[in-house]
């Protein structure tokens, strides 16, 4: 059997990053919601909020632990499986990873210990501050990781010297053309994931009348918060991010939008069936000129298509995956707005807590924002192929040439088994904790 270490390393990276990326969005989203809840518990002495803080704090701790366990792998995998990449970009790519550890990961880890174990040991103000630092640290973590990844998308602040990319301008590399748009969109996506987790769990508490008083409060908060961030995901962050891709990565943009031939007054595809080599979109239903207008703010703007980019020597990313992932993500994003808006609409009429089908729906849609996050990541990463660093280094030239296919196969099998177990146990323990409910947790501090 001929095992291809390149293919296996790509598979392993996809598996490990995909699984890891289920947890940080929940952590980030929950942490920010908890900052608000703990604030109310502290400043207003709201006992429901204190209970809610303890209840969701436990879920945060669990989620964080799995996120940390799977995150360590990422820090080392560039070296183990992508040695050529690491040597080529290390002068630039290592710094944001190190900065993430120094500025962000220390902060969130240290203060998470204080947040989870320090209740009653430190002042209430300090305890609230620790929840803020966890949230802030996790956001900062996301920022530095996005910095590193954005440099792969739109490299800047470097020069190719001595057979590698060497840093010439740190701030240009950090705030490369895609950093800000990608960070904001990803961050908002994480907040949606946290909001839906809290909303779904709260809906369950209300449905089962288990700590329902706590559940009502957190349901209300998470739905309002969820609506705001769902709208932000579309506009301005999603819109800006798409415009940035159109500006900086035309191949990816053409694949996302299924534009085969470049044209002025390019139509926005609202339906179409994509098929692979050569990339085609059949049964296409489009609105004329809207794509040109959305991408460049001008209905007459020329949008390059897959074919003309190919003629200019720019290869197309895997078309079907990119197109389908993007449109499913957009569909899910629309659903998030509609579903949270419905909940907020029911709120002032006091119907929210009685509309049982809606509460059940909230429970079942908990995973959808995570799927949307995964799809967004797939669009970003698959849409950049065949490059690992856009127009600089191909993925096929980036892997460790000294690692054998057998070794990678072994580690993939191990990661697969361990992650399967972690995933099952995470859900199992989460469900157990939720069923337990917040009622038994005392609101007063036990000293």
């Amino acid at each position: 059997m001929n095992l291809d270490p390149l293919f296996l390393s790509r598979l392993q990276f996809a598996l490990t990053i995909g699984f890891h990326f289920l947890f940080p969005p929940l952590t980030i989203g929950l942490a920010w919601l908890l900052v608000f809840i703990e604030w109310r518990g502290w400043r207003h002495g709201d006992e429901d909020c204190i209970r809610a803080g303890k209840f969701f704090g436990k879920i945060l701790g669990l989620t964080f632990a799995v996120g940390v366990a799977t995150g360590i792998v990422m820090e080392f995998q560039f070296g183990t499986n992508w040695a050529e990449y690491s040597k080529y970009v290390g002068d630039i790519f290592g710094a944001p990873l190190a900065a993430e550890a120094i500025f962000a990961f220390f902060l969130e880890s240290a203060f998470l210990g204080l947040y989870l174990f320090g209740r009653g040991k430190v002042s209430k103000g300090m305890h609230w501050f620790s929840s803020l630092m966890v949230a802030f640290g996790s956001m900062l973590s996301a920022f530095w990781i996005i910095v590193a990844n954005s440099w792969q998308q739109t490299p800047a602040g470097y020069e190719i010297r001595n057979g590698r990319a060497e840093l010439t301008d740190f701030w240009a590399a950090v705030f490369n053309p895609s950093t800000a748009d990608r960070f904001l969109h990803t961050f908002v996506g994480c907040l949606i994931a946290g909001a839906f987790l809290m909303a779904g769990v709260s809906a369950y508490l209300v449905l089962k009348n288990r700590g329902a008083q706590v559940g009502r409060k957190t349901l209300k908060m998470s739905l309002i918060f969820g609506l705001i961030v769902s709208v932000l995901a579309l506009f301005p962050t999603g819109d800006h991010h798409a415009k940035q891709v159109a500006r900086t990565q035309p191949e990816k943009f053409a694949a996302i939008e299924g534009l085969v031939h470049g044209q002025t007054r390019a139509p926005l595809a609202i339906f179409g069936i994509p098929s692979g080599e050569p990339p085609r979109l059949s049964l296409k239903v489009g609105i004329p000129a809207v794509l040109s207008w959305m991408a460049f703010g001008d209905a007459d703007a020329y949008v390059p298509g897959i074919e003309d980019l190919r003629e200019a020597g720019h290869p197309t990313p895997p078309f079907v995956i990119t197109f389908v992932s993007f449109h499913t993500m957009v569909g899910l994003g629309t659903f998030f707005i509609v579903s949270t808006a419905l909940g907020v609409f029911l709120l002032p009429r006091n119907k929210l807590y009685e509309t049982r089908w809606y509460l059940k729906l909230l429970l079942w849609v908990i995973p959808l924002p995570l799927i949307a996050c995964q799809l967004g990541w797939i669009v970003a990463e698959v849409g950049r192929q065949p490059w690992v660093v856009y127009r600089l280094l191909k993925t096929e030239d980036a892997h460790s040439t000294n690692v054998t296919g057998g070794e990678v196969l072994f580690s993939i099998i191990m990661f697969g088994l361990i992650y399967l177990m972690l995933g099952v146990l995470y859900v199992f323990i989460l469900v157990r904790n939720v069923k337990h409910g917040p009622e038994l947790l005392p609101a007063k501090e036990a000293r």
Binding site: G94, I102, F106, L116, V122
Partner: protein, 338 residues
């Protein structure tokens, strides 16, 4: 002092910070395998509960800093030692989740699974870190073009295994010293005995390892004797090793723990000083070694990174110290405990 030297020192400071801080977590994890009942096991876990996570970040930081400052070292060593590193990662995953999972279901069988996973998840890294250092001291077969490929079994040579056992014993001593600070009564007395037992083994193994190193890698001793840092670390090592049993017998366990920390710092300092200016010696030809000059990032990146570290690390140390102070004192099991 040039930037490359500064980063050589900083990388080793980060690894030393990891060894001292997460080192006692690993030791506690190993000792967890020998705890007598559920109450003791919970005390073990909760002794490190609020801090282990922050401690592990030192490893991530050291890894990230190595990537940023010396990319070829990061790339060559981690890909060359692929399976060994994977084993560490698997073990660290198990260790991290065991603590979170163990207390979730109140059944003896469930707890037993996570006790073992916690213990072995600490034991495996405690040994492999030593094996890795042993192989680096021995030299890795780096070719002239910088490629490295070592079959996993070749890493398990007698010298590296000796260093692996040495590091296990060191972490057990360190973990026992930590637990003696955090516990009371019978358990504390037993931890004091563990400390002294591991200390004896450590002294014997360290002498053996030094002797072995002299034969395996004589080049490490070439220029160190004229290096003043070497003597400083050597004296610190000597003083702290001698002080461990004295403080331990007097029941001053915090001092024992600090002496044990100093021992680790001094030992790593000696290792780093004797490697300098090499990062990873080549066993094929010393001229092919990865050094702080042929395997570094550009001066610009090293400068940027230095600024990041000088702003970030003092902050980290301040809030870490605050958190350690908050959780100082004996372990008390509460509703938030594992």
């Amino acid at each position: 002092m040039d930037l490359n030297i500064a980063w050589f020192a900083l990388i080793w400071v980060l690894f030393a910070g990891y060894a001292i801080l997460d080192g006692f977590d690993l030791g506690v994890g190993v000792l967890h395998l020998f705890a007598r009942d559920n109450r003791e096991r919970r005390i073990h876990m909760n002794a490190i509960g609020p801090v282990w996570d922050g401690n592990e970040v030192w490893l991530l930081t050291a890894g990230g800093a190595l990537f940023a400052a010396f990319p070829p070292v990061y790339a060559t060593v981690f890909s060359g030692l692929y399976l060994a590193l994977m084993l560490v990662l698997f073990a660290l995953i198990f260790r991290a989740v065991s603590m979170e999972f163990r207390g979730q279901v109140d059944r003896p069988g469930w707890r037993r699974v996570w006790d073992w996973s916690f213990g072995l998840g600490s034991l495996v890294p405690a040994i492999i870190f030593g094996v890795a250092v042993g192989n680096i001291l021995r030299g890795l077969p780096i070719e002239a073009d910088g490629t490295l490929n070592v079959p996993f079994l070749a890493l398990l040579n007698p010298y590296a295994l000796l260093i692996g056992i040495l590091s296990l014993v060191m972490f057990v001593m360190h973990g026992a010293a930590y637990l003696a600070v955090k516990t009371e009564g019978d358990l504390q007395q037993r931890m004091a005995r563990w400390t002294i037992g591991a200390w004896m083994a450590f002294v014997v193994l360290y002498l053996a390892a030094t002797l072995a190193t002299f034969f395996v890698s004589p080049f490490l001793f070439e220029s160190v004797l004229s290096n003043v840092l070497f003597w400083i670390f050597f004296l610190l090592l000597l003083a702290s090793i001698v002080y461990i049993p004295i403080a331990n017998r007097a029941g001053k366990f915090l001092r024992t723990f600090l002496a044990s920390s100093a021992t680790i710092a001094a030992m790593i300092g000696l290792t780093a000083t004797s490697l300098f200016p090499r990062m990873v010696p080549s066993s094929l030809d010393l001229a092919s070694s990865l050094t702080i000059y042929n395997a570094s990032s550009t001066p610009r990146t090293l400068t940027v990174m230095l600024v990041i570290a000088l702003i970030g690390m003092p902050l980290v140390i301040v809030y870490t110290a605050y958190i350690y102070r908050t959780f100082a004192g004996k372990v008390v099991i509460t509703e938030e405990s594992y």
